[in-house]
Symmetry: D2
């Protein structure tokens, strides 16, 4: 909690569905458990439908609602714009906000195209010169077990990275009768599994290893090309309505690549892995050890230290809930695990800390562009029927 | 979220450390994700130290603070008193609150003795006649996987209960140099592992099976009888100060019993299980199947259905995050797990629903007394050097 | 494999069903993978039915068959008698064999009563004076992960033992229609789950910790008291015949106790744990660490070392298949796991090594008696309605 | 066990190291647990060094030894030649044996090149016309859990195959100082991880799904290009000698592909996955369910049935040790798991059954060629810097 006299940070959020709910919970909760150097004020939320956005403001804890994101950006009491809309609107909103001198937290993927992402990076660089900061919301970086994995790799505990094995497996489209949603519409979502969930594991692979992909080779597939039009839609489920419509994005993405340190990496993102609900799996094998994570057990990290004696070496099942673990000291006693939403709270904590210190927060828009270029390279590789696509190795 | 015009429920909380923080998060969060028929208002928190309780009110989101629980109870704007103090004060506060016509939510264990618990049940019964409700906070009942386990047992999916195997394993006292705390002082805590954590698994065993223990036979042990006096203390950890002091409670409790349906049950509660951080494990084997739970993977329930065909029968690893699962519809999409604190939010949701409906909430004080009698019987059995102690079979 | 000129060890086996098959596989296999100082010769198998035992000899690899165990014992070419019959015949056969100067390997439990076991121990002591050895077949001691567990405890890696948690869970009687067998007949089997499977976990608890139980308190239960008489019977399954008969042994046993080093222990043995097929689970928590084993994953040992740094401490999942692990150097490369029967092969290897060296093999008959006394104490405790029963603390 | 009067099958084995030991154990053991229609006779083993092969014959249970495989093939008492040599000699021996009218069991990979494999298939086809059979030893097919997986897929229990995810992870080369062996010499081994272990998961993917790969795209990598020359060498380990030598095979292989039914598949084979000892992992996701296997828990199969009701659907952890499971009826009671070597025994059982029935055993040489072509396509894709390589879709 911020001490009396702490300067405030006025926040305005654009969008208020799934991501909006998660971000709101984080803005409400962060000051309750962490000492923040700025006191967030949940000033205003923007949405197109006046009634809906007013109800959302009430439910999610925002002081006011508006129906225009431009109006939100123009307000003097808004210091930071939190962009929670679908990807096709990220560039326009984020660039406008940065130009207006507002800090920006933008949900991932940064944009629906490399060109948009590049424009956003350019805007962020210009803004940074004026002390205005931009961050992209690869929230899974803030899961304590992921932070611990990165720390172990950075500390040399697993040696040189040989293999990255990254999968994001869901199953909500396995049933061919699951209805259409905006997430299956290329004009809104940009891509399917690749950008929605594949983006996360690309970012995690690079974050944990501290390396970048230098090239990829991949394959996209749409297994079910027509789906029922939903009568109504909320969240990821819905009731079937009349007729069918086309799926214009990928159902699954499969690709491999090389890391900048010489290791190999494999990636898979799918919404067709029956029985896997939100299995984000990342394993990194190094010359001296390994780390392995599965979001289905998000409070655990598995760590193999090859320097343990031969009779007792084995993957350590670390329950990442000790006071010594990242973020945990502010939460509950050992063994009292965290959930999905906590990573969003940590994101707020880190962002607010950086803003107060005048530090550039990470992942930056440039980091988001790096991921966007990987996604784009996978698409190009797939479009070419499979083939190696090089990536620039320096960020930005 | 409560709709406009929803009647309010003024809440006052007594105590503001570990449990106070968890309850506060629940009062703040429940209306954000659930449609509540009463709108909770976090009016006031009470504590002995004026500065500390004022800071806690600010941090935890309470409108005001007071230094006297009597003052809190006396306030007109308080409809419900939430008792989060150590067990030695539960009876006095809860009885006074009920007598003042306030609903009460009282942390577990209900009291430090059967006599106190009986007085509380009597007070609750008198209050109930006036529509004033009382509930005890066996919060783990509200973990979705536990609710699902109970539902499966109640629906006959595992048949007649043959075995209950319940353990609550922690390790924060395994190190003989871990310092003293109020939890190791019998005058404050009533008992050690038995009442603090054993109470939870006794309640869970009875809740999941819908049965009661009819007798127990047990053993208490204090492995380390002197511990360093801490220089300061917060939460479960602390720095060693000068000298040592006596541990006056049990370090571990081991007991077995019979369930009212004829099954056998075994229980263990310890703070000496090195490497087990907060492992609440309950397995129930029935004539037609089994359920198994471990809080270290709190979003999972394991279910064995003996009627599955012989070649494919096996424990099902249910990721309890589907919209069809208890409480989940109000949270996140499938696979986006919950954490420790969510059970407290569910407790608020259920309690507020019951208050609005004029229903008696569960677990009632009588349910708390049932658990208290089990704990007492275990102590008596242990004091007698091991021996069977019968329990009354009807609640209350 | 024994080198040319290696002295032989003539073996005669009494009984040839489940245990006989396992022992035969061990006698056949041990010399193929291990360098044995004596070359076992599978001379003769004894059984009551001439045709059946002749077929068994052929199938299992014995040179000859006889219909009288007395005849087997009398043969000059038999140096060791391997007793694989039900428990009611152990004492008579083993004592006679020892008196005839034959080494004896006797399946567990040593006997069906303490008196018989004491007689066997006396016979073994007399025989030992003449260099004739006796061993009881607590075969699970020879699972590599169990050997490793014992070694870690003996090396002080987990410190002082605080808790033993031992369970042997099966489910082949969960169905009330499962038929009768000799294992459910007290006159043949001595006891039910207690002696058949509980004996194993009692022995494992003592073997791994290197301590003995000093007292127990327990409960036996027979859930289903009448079962169908099988038309025919083989192994653990069978077809229902006409009528029912009484179950005269326990279906389940539940007990707790104290170890000689001051730790607490809990035990459970049941054939009613739906979905648990042969789950032998032993966990030992010490002041510095823990070991945990589950036979359903018999090639794994879980080891927690509390001296690991706080951020990376966690149960290590040791795949016990490295050349450095017990017995493994003679088998396959790392990761190529062993199965149930391999422990029997290791038993032969250890026994033959001890015989050649003139060492007393373990577990001795005295060790078997220790277990028998525990089982007896549990029965007496249960018969008395629950109550503490002290055990003698020195072996024998 | 074969009944009296059962015709015999004279077996001769070429090679006697790791694979030779495993095959010998299978020939010895199969008749002890299974009723075989032919009685195998272990006539003769061939090796180059007279002393070594004589000792091996003694240890492994072969009647005689010879120093020439040609001599072995020429013997009248040999009906079947079991080829357990490194891959570079498979073609010559197997073709000669088939031409001599001997059945052949040839270890995998079938050969070190497609050309050799094609010659072997041609020889097998010619031999088949004379009732002479040939089989390749993809032994992991005979693990009961794998057989069950195939059966579930074949029975439509998981619907249309969408994803195959197959990995074979070892770590014995993770240490750069691990010494050279013939397995790292292209002239002997043909390839590295790709052919040695990748071949297994390619075969398993096709076997479980009943489909074939129609194209692949892959990457091979050698992380450590010079390794110490061992002073001596046995098995997979060895002591370092003087100097270093080149590694001429791949350390790791990464590839993806399409299955003939339209699903996607990803493959990884590596000896650099620190902490993974012999992790053969195959998961298949279909439109109605999934199966998942990990050889580190070889007695388990995980099965997800999407038709289970929404609240209880979850991966079933099937302990594949029930009498109803493949091969298990001849072994031990439920829950008494099998080990690595048992799959070799099952291979003998199936092969002998086919030979007696005059059926062509599977996997055939043609099946081995299919795998060989996949390996070759991966190499060509990798040599070309990544790029799609089509595969013929009909077997052979």
């Amino acid at each position: 909690m911020s001490a009396p006299g702490t300067p405030t940070l006025g926040v305005g959020m654009v969008g208020y569905s799934f991501m909006g709910a998660a971000h709101s919970q984080a803005w409400r909760t962060a000051p309750r458990f962490f000492d923040l150097p700025l006191a967030p004020r949940m000033r205003v939320v923007a949405g197109r439908n006046a009634d809906s956005v007013r109800a959302a403001a009430e439910r999610l804890g925002w002081d006011e609602s508006v129906t225009s994101w431009q109006e939100l950006i123009a307000r003097d009491d808004v210091d930071l714009v939190d962009v929670c809309t679908p990807g096709d609107t990220h560039a326009e909103i984020a660039v406008a906000a940065l130009q207006a001198g507002k800090h920006v937290l933008c949900e991932k993927p940064l944009a629906n195209s490399v060109a948009e992402a590049e424009a956003m990076v350019a805007a962020a660089e210009r803004a940074a010169a004026n002390g205005v900061q931009a961050m992209v919301g690869f929230t899974y970086r803030r899961v304590p077990a992921i932070q611990l994995a990165r720390r172990l790799v950075a500390d040399g505990r697993i040696g040189q990275v040989r293999h990255v094995r990254a999968q994001y497996l869901q199953d909500w489209l396995a049933d061919p009768q699951a209805p259409l949603s905006w997430r299956l519409d290329k004009s809104k979502a940009g891509s399917g599994a690749l950008g929605d969930i594949g983006a996360h594991v690309v970012d995690l692979a690079q974050f944990i290893t501290g390396e970048q992909l230098v090239g990829v080779n991949g394959l996209l597939e749409t297994f079910v090309r027509e789906r029922p039009v939903p009568a109504s839609f909320s969240g990821l489920s819905g009731e079937a309505g009349e007729g069918t419509g086309p799926v214009t994005v990928d159902d699954a993405a499969l690709f491999y690549g090389r890391m900048s340190g010489g290791g190999l990496a494999s990636f898979e993102a799918t919404r067709f892995a029956a029985g896997r609900k939100n299995a984000i799996r990342v394993e990194v094998n190094g010359s001296k050890g390994s780390v392995a994570f599965d979001f289905e057990d998000m409070n655990l990290l598995h760590f193999y230290d090859a320097s343990d004696d031969a009779t007792t070496a084995g993957f350590r099942r670390i329950v990442v809930t000790e006071p010594e673990h990242p973020y945990i000291g502010s939460w509950w006693p050992a063994g009292h695990g965290l959930g999905y939403e906590h990573a969003f709270t940590h994101q707020v904590v880190d962002l607010v800390g950086d803003l107060a210190a005048g530090r550039a927060p990470t992942p930056s828009f440039a980091d988001g562009l790096v991921v966007q270029r990987v996604l784009d390279a996978v698409e190009r590789s797939s479009d070419a029927g499979g083939g190696w696509v090089d990536l620039p190795t320096a960020a930005g």
